[in-house]
Symmetry: C2
Subunit: 117 residues, 2 copies
DNA sequence: CGGACTGTTAAGCATATGCTTAAGTATCAC
DNA sequence: GTGATACTTAAGCATATGCTTAACAGTCCG
């Protein structure tokens, strides 16, 4: 039991910050050290480390230290969980829209294609 | 273009709260009034209204008042924006994994397996 | 060894967030 | 009009968040 089930709360919370999204974007292109992550960001290294901790707690990022360098990488499964949640909601509302379409069709049933675009 | 581009910050921030995700889930199944949204939630109506404001500010929910009832519905496009962001990151890391596979294949290509461990 | 490099940790601070209670406003139903 | 219904708004409060600076701790290099 190394890592927690990474609740959606923490994942979305982590993604809510633009700095952290930049870090995730960078890591989507490949692993990076802490200072590489910090390079494009205009804030102290300390702040970057704190953002990194949020990302790791959320399960979005995993890191390992070798020598004096900590190398970070994304954990795709976690991002996919977030995506999956959104997908499931979409399934609900799309189902609803389909039924709505059926109802309209039923109402207009005797062939008059009102919105023929 | 009535409203602002609904920055991802606000969308992910809105989704970070479990109460608000319950509300979004409910609205994915169809429109609801404020008190209908509040029914499954163990907090004051006032708190629910405040959550609703967060959802509306994020662009995830739209609402309209008729008589004394405010009816709320989801705004699918906004959720899809969030999904799209995740999808785009995935495109990046998948591309990377593909190249990684290529490299491994190339390295092992012409038969001299010097360190076959 | 000594210094540069790469983080790490702690303290402090301003602002944001998620509630609460309490008081108010605008329907609707009789 | 009276009362119930359905929010709405404001104030207050505890905790969380996003930084900062400053001091500390390993690691590598000559």
């Amino acid at each position: 039991m190394l890592n927690s089930p990474a609740p959606l709360d923490l994942v979305f919370q982590a993604l809510a910050d633009p700095t952290r999204r930049i870090m995730v974007e960078r890591l989507s292109r490949g692993p990076a050290s802490v200072s590489e992550l910090a390079k494009p960001l205009s804030m102290s290294l300390s702040a970057v480390v704190q953002h990194l901790q949020v990302l790791e707690t959320s399960g979005l990022v995993r890191s390992e230290k070798v020598g004096r360098v900590r190398t970070c990488q994304i954990e795709p499964a976690t991002l996919q969980n977030a995506e999956a949640w959104i997908n499931q909601r979409r399934a609900l509302w799309e189902r609803r829209f389909d039924r709505l379409g059926d109802d309209l069709a039923t109402q207009n049933d005797d062939g008059d294609p009102t919105d023929s675009k």
